[in-house]
Symmetry: C2
Subunit: 146 residues, 2 copies
């Protein structure tokens, strides 16, 4: 098993970050504009991009503390993996500890997804700090795989 | 053992990317301006940032294909780890596969370094595509840990 791990700090409250992670409106402003579904615990959120997308079942949502999703549909390498966001406060920042856990193999697609998660987490940071993120299809292109 | 893995694609030649990875001038234009030392195989390159730095021994340098460093001084978590850049061509891009291998534990500092490597690899991409990167101390701040 291989995990993707990231850490950013944002000058916004944990409540604001939590809202960006647990509402369709918030999610559509930093990851992909094409976001639909039920963002409550037990619901499934459908994230779509030009080449495809991901369906995430919301397993946990603890206000201002923790969000956990399981990938229930999408690319084969993603199915069954989990995406966790943990929030804490430190030095006046809200720290987001991110994990995309349970990759079976460190395939080249995982390298790509790791770099791309960093880009989207910086979009989350920009959204909560300035009110405007860079969700797909306006996201920063990193390679031929977009 | 835990590894950091990234993938970017740049619209520049493998030779140009290789030069940015194997010359003091190139390295100082995307990772940190304070870069000194011997970038030849067997040499040690000293990268310095405001809070500290890293000494990298160059283990391999295959033109336009592969660069491998070993961390010989720096933060305790980094010592003994290896940093690899592999280059290949695909769809008109030079693809950079990056690995920072051999972390003993997935500590919070590793989360930070992973996100920060993405930022610096995007600086490498910007350098080889536009002639100007964002090396430290002009790098993008991602948190209270810089």
């Amino acid at each position: 098993m291989v995990d993707i791990l990231h850490r950013i700090g944002v000058t916004a409250s944990p409540d604001d970050v939590y809202a960006a992670l647990t509402t369709i409106d918030g999610l559509s402003k930093w990851w992909t504009e094409d976001t639909e579904g039920d963002s409550g615990v037990g619901g499934v959120i459908r994230f779509r991009f030009v080449p495809g997308g991901f369906d995430m079942k919301v397993l946990e949502a603890q206000p201002a503390e923790r969000v956990l999703w399981e990938v229930v549909d999408g690319p084969e390498e993603w199915i069954g993996t989990q995406v966790a966001f943990e929030l804490k406060q430190e030095d006046g920042f809200t720290i987001v500890l991110f994990r995309h856990e349970g990759w079976k193999e460190p395939v080249e697609f995982m390298y790509h997804c790791n770099t791309k998660w960093a880009i989207f987490l910086m979009s989350l940071k920009k959204l909560v700090e300035t009110g405007k993120g860079d969700p797909a299809p306006h996201d920063v292109m990193i390679s031929n795989w977009h």
